[in-house]
């Protein structure tokens, strides 16, 4: 199986997978999804600091 798993990319970026959405081509992907070189992803934080 080619490509690199999302988990590995997040590890390299020092990001906790439970604190971000990863979006590829307008779709959510999981940590196990494999990314190809040409793929562009958005890593969107989910943490908010407000209390309501």
């Amino acid at each position: 199986m080619g490509g690199r798993p999302v988990r590995s990319v997040l590890d390299e970026l020092g990001m906790d997978p439970d604190t971000v959405l990863v979006i590829r081509a307008g779709e959510l992907v999981t940590r196990e999804t494999r990314l190809e070189e040409a793929d562009e992803i958005e890593v969107r934080p989910v943490i908010s600091g407000g209390v309501g």
Binding site: T19, L28, E32, I47, S48, G49, G50, V51, G52
Partner: protein, 327 residues
């Protein structure tokens, strides 16, 4: 990764449940969790009028969406905080959401309706920006719900919010706050019932739900919140959760079941009417009126010349714009 329910291709992983779901199944499971929370804590009845506190962020818009989808009579309340472009964008997405669903939206603006904004209050008052923002929201939401005849206020607090708040309260042993930290606080003495139907769902799940439902929400964090204590507690909880998935849920849900009853017994706070506005408070003046007086330069210490003035202030109609829907 396969969906636990239908074996299709998963798009969301929920590690604390060791589960993953496709889009359709995730939306279903998310709504089931909200239904379970509502039933477990008797949060709302189908004929209740619900006022949803909406900030334009993922949690409150996801909550509003679920309540509307489940058939509840849920109006939104947006409070303009005066935080520059951030507030502008938050108001826009909230109005667009309401318009798209034909839902009623009440808009209140702190500067227009109360004479101050949050950045000014943070600079001039003695409380932190986040503290004065939080107390202003609680005050305005309660007052608007009372004046609008709503049965219950619903907020978008999620599991991460609640776990971080409980951690903070525990670290300082704020037993009164701990006693009152509940997914459903009954109404009493001028306080409208408050519920948090998302308390069983993590921040990742509310964000995924909002995304999968195509909800346009404000992703950017409030520019004034950087480094606040709530974020530090979330970081700490996330560090533990990363190594031990499920810890947050055990901490908060376990507290509700086994810890909170011990603190509730010790909570004997008595509420009376604020002499300035009539809203419930444990002191002579409520925290909102004290904070506002500091910012706008009003003296609260002097006795009111006439109690009628206080009741007039309490009875004054709250300015509000109504967008869409039926009033």
């Amino acid at each position: 990764m396969k969906c636990n329910r239908c074996r299709g291709s998963a798009v969301v992983e929920v590690r604390r449940h060791n589960a993953a779901y496709c889009k359709g199944c995730f939306v279903h499971v998310f709504r089931e969790q909200v239904k379970r929370a509502i039933k477990q804590h008797d949060m709302v009845r189908i004929d209740d009028r619900i006022l949803v506190a909406v900030s334009g962020g993922k949690d409150s818009l996801a909550l509003w969406d679920v309540l509307l989808e489940l058939g509840y009579d849920a109006a939104g309340l947006y409070l303009g905080l005066g935080i520059g472009d951030y507030s502008g964008r938050s108001g826009e997405v909230t109005k667009a959401f309401a318009a798209g669903r034909g839902a009623e939206l009440i808009v209140i603006d702190l500067e227009r309706d109360y004479g101050f904004d949050i950045p000014t209050a943070g600079r001039k008052g003695s409380r932190s920006t986040c503290a004065v923002c939080g107390l202003s929201k609680r005050y305005v939401f309660n007052r608007a719900a009372l004046e609008g005849g709503f049965d219950v206020i619903a907020t978008g607090h999620n599991l991460d919010d609640e776990a971080a708040t409980l951690l903070g309260n525990t670290l300082r042993w704020q037993t009164g706050y701990m006693a009152r930290q509940s997914p459903a606080l009954p109404g009493k003495d001028g306080m409208v019932k408050k519920v948090k139907p998302l308390f069983r769902l993590s921040e990742l799940e509310t964000a995924a739900y909002a995304f999968l439902r195509g909800i346009d929400y404000v992703v950017e964090e409030c520019p004034l919140v950087a480094g606040n204590t709530q974020l530090r507690y979330k970081d700490a909880m996330n560090a533990i959760e990363a190594r031990s998935p499920g810890t947050k849920a055990q901490f908060f849900l376990g507290y509700l079941e086994r810890g909170r009853p011990l603190f509730t017994a010790a909570d004997d706070a008595e509420l009376s009417a604020c002499e300035r506005c009539g809203q419930p408070t444990t002191g002579r003046f409520c925290a909102f009126c004290r904070a506002r007086a500091q910012v706008v330069g009003e003296r609260l210490g002097a006795p009111m010349e006439d109690r009628d003035v206080a009741s007039e202030l309490a009875d004054e109609v709250m300015p509000a714009e109504i967008y869409g829907g039926s009033p």
